[in-house]
Amino acid sequence: MTVRIVDRRQDSRNKSSINRGRFIRRFKGQIRQAVADAIAKRGIRDLESGEKIGIPGRDISEPQFHHGQGGVRERVHPGNDRFAQGDEMSRPPSGGQGQGSGKASPDGEGMDDFVFTLTRDEFLDIFFDELALPNLVKRQLARIDEFKRMRAGYTQNGVPTNINLVRTMRGAAGRRVAIGGPYAARLRRLQAELESALDQVPPDAEEVDRLQREIACLKAQREAIPFIDPFDLRYSNRIRVPQPSTQAVMFCLMDVSGSMDEGKKQMAKRFFMLLYLFLNRNYEHIEVVFIRHHTSAEEVDEDNFFHSRETGGTIVSSALKLMVQIISERYSSHAWNIYGAQASDGDNWNDDSPVCRKLLAESILPLVQYFAYIEITEGEPQNLWHEYQALAGSQGGLFAQQRIAGPADIYPVFRELFRKRLV
């Protein structure tokens, strides 16, 4: 009798993923909050990993009828090393049901944070959800597939437009040589015999005649070899290869004057993250330049960009000027795809806004692939907005602006950009 052994290792991989999905669905609120906290802590380039999420234990407990503390309890314990019958001892302070000496329960039951790790996909899913991305875009971003068609040798079948003449003729010539070879050898031999027959005095007429007929016959056979045969046809072959092989630079411009509070900066951060994510799908190498400005602009690292606070007025053009300068110094070659993203609360020194528009229209937009501006404000549009309005009309596909109150408003800024990539 042999036992039945079943190898289940290949079955039902990820069987748990449904229950896991249910869990995430159920605690979407808490998880969303945790993701928001995580985004605040993350670098904008750090979107490739999952995230550890903590949910308060009480939220996910599964209640049942239980006895609480109190009443009369009797427990039997092992390992008696000091007690005799009738011994009394004071209750352990923790309120546990146990013994006199130092057994404190290490943690309260079930009330710790429930910690688990979201996968990258789940993390992005929630991130996208908040940004209200259309599904098509979500799929586009989460997927890594940008293809380029490139040559890959030759094939024997294809469409007529792809026929490669040189290859075809070379093949045909080779075939003719190969097939005609034996004929040529015999022909040369016969030719030699004919000459020797003709050299004889008197010529052997009968022999000459036979040789000449044979030569004619061979020549006819050799001529019958087709000049070109369907077999010779060669077509250029092209295949699709994944291709994220260019480089891009992304400029993040942000107003850090006193009126930009922490909430607005977090919103701006999502805006930059989304652009980064988009670029990341399309370019192999991305550099990010952070420019912050109030009355004057400076290039800073990411940490300073999001976390330091300045006060004072606002001159937006200073940042644009710095951007132009950095482009000409470091990213002037055509190898760089340049993207600009500007976030501000719209406040600008009045005389400066026309300057900004001019700078954008003349110096920046001709150089960049896309420039997006968000104004994070709930009130009336500010003067910069009005100035930029003109650009949005004239520079269609290149420039986009949006006024933002919540994260879901961010996506429309990029709508044009994503649409372009999706077709």
Binding site: V3, I5, Q69, E74, P78
Partner: protein, 506 residues
């Protein structure tokens, strides 16, 4: 040594399917020699992830979907990945054929251990013990689980995931009070379930209408009817009561409640025989593998690896250790079965005095009797010997919240043995560890409120989470639910009430 080597079943620590089959054949042969009566069994090789998955679904090969299983999975995965716990080496399912899972990470020795422990130890216990015989039908459980999963998936499609989820939440909250303790539930069978399900839906709905039938006749009813309680006798199976009597539930909701209830019932014997069952399986893997060693079928390396994990499993930390978390059922169970064998084979005077029936008897017969006819509570009350109490150095502590101090009631000495044994047995009595809450009355003529009564045991109050559970009860019942308990003077007082604003959906 060189001669013995030729008899070895297999060598090395990596397992192959052939080696597992050979071990199984050998272990099976020895088990039959010992007279173990088992279901047929099937070994399934699974990955660690699948093992965690099975954990989350309380060991079941198929199970319906619910977020709480996702939570348990994440919990297990986290702890496993952080190295805080090893996975159980085995999970075994009480079904016919009995299914034992072998994890692919295990070494060959561990696989042999699991086969002996699960496929022969637990398996024979499932087949023989009266609790399992009475409460579960091994031949039908897998079919029933398939039925349950498909049915619930269908409900999700028809009524939405949220509706089903909150229903199952409520059922889970009440599941430990959703078992029948005293009467046998009818056997589960896929065919019968399917055939009867339609019939049951119609019938149940008709039954429920009885609750309402009294309404139009209101003016005719005389006072004595006011006295009549519904149900006539208190009902301790809350889920059962709700399934049969909640007025507003849809037929599919009753069916889902029934599914959770049935599956809960299926696990009821496991909760009551933990010490016996684990001890039994541990005893048999120990005995079977030692016999293999005596026959020269396995080498010293095998035994060292086996003993290392065996001793880990049966370690009992003392009460003042950091690792102490109650009595280890493996340790107590294994020690008791070993001790019973000792009493049979090498009794001393104390044993003859305490266990005159079994001292010196045939150990296999005694084992068989004990395995078949007891559960933890009675098993301990019957077989825990003074010698074992001394070995474990057991002592009982009384915690009475009306007294300022804890008191040691009994220790492992002559005066204490009986008390100690009785108290330890009581500790395994589910009847006193689960709160006793019963359906007392439904206000048929008034607001249809349901009254539950908590019969306190040893003055133990209910934990705060009870209020949340009451919420779930109210959502199932569809009307107000009250929870009463008995005050010190004997009066019944209202402990909590949950109001429901539920309207029947059009």
């Amino acid at each position: 040594m060189t001669k013995k080597r030729s008899q070895l079943i297999a060598e090395g620590s990596d397992w192959t399917l052939e080696a597992i089959a050979k071990y199984d054949a050998e272990i099976g042969r020895i088990a039959r020699n010992y007279g173990l009566d088992c279901y047929r069994h099937q070994l399934e090789i699974i990955t660690a992830e699948q093992m965690m998955d099975a954990y989350a679904a309380i060991g079941m090969p198929v199970y319906y979907h619910h977020w709480s299983f996702g939570k348990h999975f994440l919990e297990t995965e986290n702890r496993y990945k952080r190295g805080q716990m090893g996975l159980a080496y085995e999970i075994v399912i009480n079904s016919d054929p009995c299914i034992a899972y072998l994890m692919e990470e295990n070494t060959l020795t561990m696989q042999a251990l699991v086969i002996a422990h699960a496929a022969y130890g637990h398996n024979s216990f499932f087949k023989g013990n009266h609790m399992f015989k009475q409460w579960t039908s091994a031949d039908a459980i897998v079919d029933y689980l398939v039925f349950a999963r498909n049915y619930i998936a269908e409900c999700e499609e028809r009524h939405g995931v949220d509706a089903v989820e909150s229903l199952i939440d409520a059922c889970h909250a009440l599941s430990n009070l959703g078992v029948d303790r005293y009467k046998r539930s009818p056997p589960l069978s896929l065919l019968k379930e399917k055939a009867r399900q339609q019939e049951r839906e119609a019938y149940l709905q008709a039954q429920v209408n009885d609750l309402w039938r009294t309404l139009p006749r209101r003016d005719l009813v005389v006072e004595e009817a006011e006295e009549r309680r519904f149900p006539a006798e208190p009902e301790e199976n809350l889920l059962y009561f709700v399934e049969k009597n909640a007025p507003l539930l849809e037929p599919w909701q009753r069916e889902v409640i029934r599914i959770v209830r049935k599956i809960g019932q299926y696990f009821y014997p496991q909760r009551q025989t933990q010490v016996m069952n684990e001890g039994w399986a541990t005893f048999w893997h120990y005995t079977l593998l030692n016999t293999l060693y005596d026959e020269g079928k396995v080498n010293d390396g095998f035994m060292l690896e086996f003993l290392q994990s065996h001793t880990n499993v049966i370690y009992q930390p003392p009460y003042n250790s950091n690792w102490y978390s109650g009595i280890n059922p493996y340790a107590l169970g294994f020690a008791m079965w070993q001790d019973i064998r000792r009493i049979c084979e090498r009794p001393d005077d104390e044993d003859r005095e305490w266990f005159p029936d079994i001292a010196g008897s045939d150990w296999r017969e005694t084992f068989d009797f004990a395995m078949r006819n007891f559960k933890d509570e009675s098993f301990i009350a019957q077989y825990l010997s003074p010698r074992l109490m001394r070995e474990f150095r057991l002592f009982a502590v009384l915690d009475d919240d009306s007294k300022p101090n804890l008191k040691v009631d009994a220790i492992h000495n002559t005066q204490g043995y009986r008390t100690l044994r009785q108290k330890l047995a009581e500790q395994y009595n589910l009847g006193s560890s689960d709160p006793n809450i019963q359906v007392w009355n439904v206000d048929l003529r008034g607001d249809r409120a349901l009254t539950l009564r908590h019969f306190a045991h040893q003055r133990r109050p209910l934990a705060d989470s009870s209020l949340v559970v009451l919420e779930h009860m109210a959502s199932l019942w569809g009307f107000n639910v009250r929870l009463e308990h008995q005050a010190l003077n004997g009066d019944w007082v209202l402990l909590a009430e949950r109001k429901t604003e539920r309207r029947r959906r059009a």
